[in-house]
Point group: C2
Chain length 159, copies 2
DNA sequence: TTGGGTGCAAAGGCTTTGCATGTGA
DNA sequence: TCACATGCAAAGCCTTTGCACCCAA
């Protein structure tokens, strides 16, 4: 996909970063799995398939960098791992779309929902609390369709 | 405060736990600071003032236990520490009150807002996604009143 | 009495850092 | 060329665990 690469290269250059194979591969790995919420270790495994020599430390350094530039988004599901997904600036369709995460307490799957209802909440908070909201993270815990329809409520963790 | 102690003792017994000085002190420490979002280390420091012999491991074990019983709530502000606050079951006024956290990106202070707007969101998600929401965690990032009014935007972290 | 609870120290597990080498611009 | 980037291994840091002792019930 030359298009992606070009986009990523441009994004990196725009931010004063050198274009390296590792950085491109990490961005690609996340872009190809927009709803997978990968951990550093998982990103490492993905990239290693195409670049076996990459080090885990590079992955950590890169995701930190990309996260600061908002090319990727941090996500904390509370399981001891920090997870990442491609961010708005890293996405091809730069549509403003806030999304929330639904986390199933049974199977641990994570679902993504688009929603802009929170804009009302943010506006209200601006007025009442005099607090300027610039970003938010919403996690909703509960039971997904499959687990609710299943008689047996014990299932493997998948995430 | 004999009332508090009695309440905590009852809560512990109801859950099949023994009543120990350490557990009571940890619950008290969190109850006395309802909006402080303490880390394990901070709880440890608080409790040590009254019980210098307590071990950090006990604090970790106890907060994990209390968290599972929903006597205290876990909170992850994304700064590498897991934080805790007294939960609804641990509170004297057992009023159902959902709250969100406003996190200032400048001074790192955390503010609590009461709001039940999310019930609308949860209801909508139940319908559209067939996902039964039982709990949620909402973090709003931005700039607080003080930091917005201050000309100088560099300040100590307080949390 | 006695099984759950605690303290201490060691071990775990994710993440960061130091340093020498490699490489994009 | 040369400052930035990478790999490797060691160190950091929060949290958990093993084990012997202690104490609430």
């Amino acid at each position: 996909m030359p298009n992606k690469n070009e986009r990523f290269k441009t994004l990196l250059k725009q931010n004063g970063l050198k274009v390296t194979t590792q950085r491109i591969l990490i961005l690609e790995a996340l872009e190809e799995r927009p709803d997978k919420h990968l951990t550093a270790e998982e990103i490492y495994e993905c990239v290693k398939e195409q670049n076996p020599d990459i080090g885990l430390a590079t992955v950590y350094r890169t995701i930190q960098l990309l996260s600061e530039l908002n090319l990727i988004d941090k996500l904390n599901l509370g399981d001891g791992y920090v997870r990442y997904e491609i961010g708005q600036l890293g996405r091809e369709d730069q549509v403003q779309h806030h999304h929330h995460h639904l986390i199933c307490l049974n199977c641990s799957n994570v679902f993504t929902v688009q929603d802009d209802l929170l804009e009302t909440l943010e506006q209200r908070i601006s007025e009442v609390m005099d607090f300027e909201v610039v970003d938010h993270e919403v996690k909703l815990y509960g039971y997904c369709k499959d687990c609710r329809n299943k008689p047996n409520k014990t299932e493997q963790k998948i995430i």
